[in-house]
């Protein structure tokens, strides 16, 4: 509670006690009325003052004005208790709103609290000094003790430890780091002391970028928010004029029909109108829902760059994926050795040695599968035949390792392979010796991810890839992806997405999910661009609308579920608040709803809407 709230709470308590005493104890009227007025002024003097200032500044239709007119009018009608109650409950509502918003503001910013407060820098004498991360220059060596946050992105120069990335990714999978590994800010050092040489300024570090992004997310307003602020602008004056009409027209009509005018009744009804008219419930609960939704999502490692994207994601019906790095790990591994007529290890050894001078991902995976260090003295006359493979002399025998074109070039009959992936044929001394299959591995959760998307109401899943058809088709059928387009160049991917955009219904959105490395154009072209595995990749954070901090494809459906829950709450609040208000206005106009109902329509609805909005924060178990 801040100072203002504490002061207000005291006033509310004093006024409530006074109000209850007056109500319970039977007092003669000449004592009761002044006491009510004391309570009324005690609780409402600031509202009256604000209303007066509002009129002076020609800002007539604000809540203060409405409350002032309604309560002063009620006093005029000698409904002292109602006037005091309206003011009291209005203040209780305002206090609650301010408290709830402050509280959730605090909760949400705490969820997103990955900002390091200081960095330890070693001075000449080897003593540690805590400095503001902003003041640390690039290339400085910072020391991170166990339990502390890594303040700035950098490279480990001494020590090894386990890092907890939960604050960034939402996953508590620890990450091992040792010398020469890159570390990103925001991780928590769990076990050992690390010395890190910074490679970025604090402002450019991952943690600053993420914070900046999340804090500014609610500045990008959604359509619902824009609708509500337009609605509020029209609604309040409309209700005020209706109140005026309600006060004047029926009595005038009565007078014309030479009935008693009954000004008192109609004034009371008009005042009820004014109490109902406050749009607070809507105006506060909609942005609060989005804010809570974005906060909850970022806690789960899903960064949403704006309320508008959360809204767009909720009506996403098509999800388009990139294959490599999104559904597959983008890491090539030896998947099998076939038709070997020498021992398999020997075949792998020959292939690995022949390819050992190459930096191609394929040769790396061969070296990894081989496992031992390569004795380069055994290799002679290495010759790379571009687009075909490698020719080398190993231990005095000629080895060919490459694709089928290489085999054809040397007229070596080879065995076709039916497995999916990249095939490395090996021939020794001009004779075929077998082949090695290298393929990209599916991500562990890829299949569940597609299932989860279907459950989350996605109509169609599409995969786009630059890879060959056979590989693409196999991956797609394994994962149950509906459609697949293969052998695409980056610009073809944009064309495909545009084709999909032109086919779909205008209210259905297309999300594109990529790893952000070379699909920036597609990310920006789709309705919603989702970049995954973005931890430490600035390009992805820049290009995408939604950023998944780790590379688990299950997070895609999670993001969609979070968006849906948030939008669901937003609509609940819109319908509930407008609905209750309209019903109460109607009942008020025909005289069924009195001031007490009006107070509920104003304060009660607001409290319920705010409590409902805070629900958007709870997305952990979606």
């Amino acid at each position: 509670m801040n100072k203002k709230q504490k002061k207000m709470l005291k006033r509310i308590i004093v006024a409530s006690i006074l109000f209850i005493i007056i109500k319970v104890v039977k007092l003669p009227e000449y004592i009761e009325i002044p006491l009510f007025l004391v309570a009324y002024l005690e609780i409402g003097y600031d509202i009256l003052l604000k209303a007066f200032k509002g009129i002076r500044n020609r800002q007539v239709f604000d809540e203060n004005f409405l409350m002032a007119v309604a309560t002063v009018g009620a006093i005029g009608l000698k409904s002292f208790d109602e006037a005091t109650a309206v003011m009291l409950f209005y203040q209780i509502g305002e206090w609650f709103q301010s408290y709830a918003v402050g509280k959730s503001r605090k909760n949400i910013t705490e969820l997103m609290d990955i900002r390091p407060d200081y960095a330890n820098v070693e001075d000449e004498d080897g003593n540690l000094e805590q400095v503001d991360p902003d003041e640390v220059e690039i290339g400085t060596i910072i020391v991170v003790k166990p339990g502390e946050k890594v303040a700035i992105d950098g490279i480990v120069i001494e020590g090894s430890s386990t890092l907890n990335t939960a604050a960034l990714t939402g996953e508590s999978l620890p990450r091992e780091v040792s010398e020469n590994d890159e570390v990103i800010s925001g991780c928590i050092n769990m076990t050992g002391l690390l010395k890190i040489k910074t490679t970025k300024e604090f402002g450019e570090s991952t943690v600053s970028k993420i914070l900046d992004l999340v804090e500014n997310a609610s500045s990008k307003k959604s359509r619902s928010e824009a609708f509500i602020s337009r609605f509020a602008r029209i609604y309040t004056p409309a209700v005020c004029y209706s109140a005026l009409a309600l006060f004047l027209l029926p009595p005038v009509f009565n007078l014309i029909m030479s009935n008693p005018a009954d000004f008192g009744t109609w004034l009371y009804r008009a005042l009820t109108f004014l109490v109902i008219s406050c749009p607070c419930a809507l105006v506060i609960s909609i942005p609060l829902s989005f804010f809570a939704g974005i906060g909850g999502a970022s806690n789960q490692g899903v960064l949403v760059k704006g309320s508008n994207y959360l809204e767009a994601l909720a009506s996403c019906k098509y999800v388009v994926f990139d294959k490599t790095g999104t559904m597959t790990q983008g890491v090539f591994e030896v998947a099998g050795i076939h038709h070997a007529n020498i021992p398999e290890e020997k075949l792998l050894e020959y292939a690995a040695m022949a390819e050992s001078y190459s930096t191609h991902p394929i040769s790396k995976s061969l070296l990894k599968a081989y496992g031992n260090t390569i004795d380069k003295s055994r290799i002679e006359n290495v010759e790379e035949i571009s687009g075909h493979g490698v020719k080398a002399v190993i231990d005095g025998v000629q080895v060919l390792a490459g694709n089928d074109k290489l085999m054809k070039m040397y007229n070596i009959p080879y065995q076709e392979c039916h497995s999916i992936g990249t095939i490395v044929h090996v021939a020794i001394d001009g004779k075929y010796a077998g082949h090695i299959v290298i393929s990209d591995m599916l991500k562990p959760h890829a299949k569940e991810a597609i299932e989860a998307l279907k459950k989350a109401g996605i109509k169609q899943t599409v995969m786009l890839t630059g890879d060959v058809k056979s590989v693409a088709d196999k991956v797609a059928s394994e994962l149950h992806i509906d459609k697949v387009y293969s052998e695409l160049l980056p610009q073809d991917k944009v064309n495909k997405v545009e084709e999909l955009l032109s086919l779909k219904h205008s209210k259905e959105n297309i999300a594109f999910v990529g790893d952000g490395i070379n699909d920036a154009p597609v990310l920006s072209r789709a309705d919603i661009g989702i970049a995954m595995g973005a931890l430490g990749s600035d390009a992805a954070i820049e290009a995408a609308d939604i950023v998944l901090m780790d590379d688990d494809p299950l997070k895609i459906s999670k993001a969609i579920k979070i968006a849906k829950k948030c939008i669901h709450i937003v609509y609940e609040n819109i319908y509930f608040a407008i609905g209750v208000k309209l019903i109460c206005l109607l009942l008020g106009a025909i005289g069924i709803a009195n001031m007490w109902v009006a107070i509920f329509a104003d304060v009660g609805v607001m409290i319920i809407a705010v409590l409902n909005a805070i629900r958007a924060l709870n997305v952990k178990n979606l």
Binding site: G54, D62, E63, S98, I108, S218, P279
Partner: protein, 72 residues
């Protein structure tokens, strides 16, 4: 030029009104008020002094909502 300012205001509708008022201030290209973060992001017209413009913005905001503050 874009700048971000901390603000203090109690109700969301007042924040909306401040946004409208700020947008109607001379020298302001566009202004967005973020009630949840209590921040005002202002994009200024070319060649204006942000301090002077912000003084006018505050004045206009005070007119629509007496109980508000902008820290600049």
């Amino acid at each position: 030029m874009k700048k971000s300012y901390k603000i203090d205001v109690d109700c969301a509708n007042c924040a909306n009104k401040m946004e409208v008022a700020a947008n109607n201030t001379e020298g302001v290209k566009s202004a967005v008020v973020n009630f949840m973060m209590l921040k005002m992001n202002v994009e200024f017209e070319d060649g204006v002094q942000p301090k002077e413009v912000m003084a006018r913005v505050l004045e206009n905001c005070k007119k629509v909502e007496d109980d508000c503050e902008i820290f600049f």
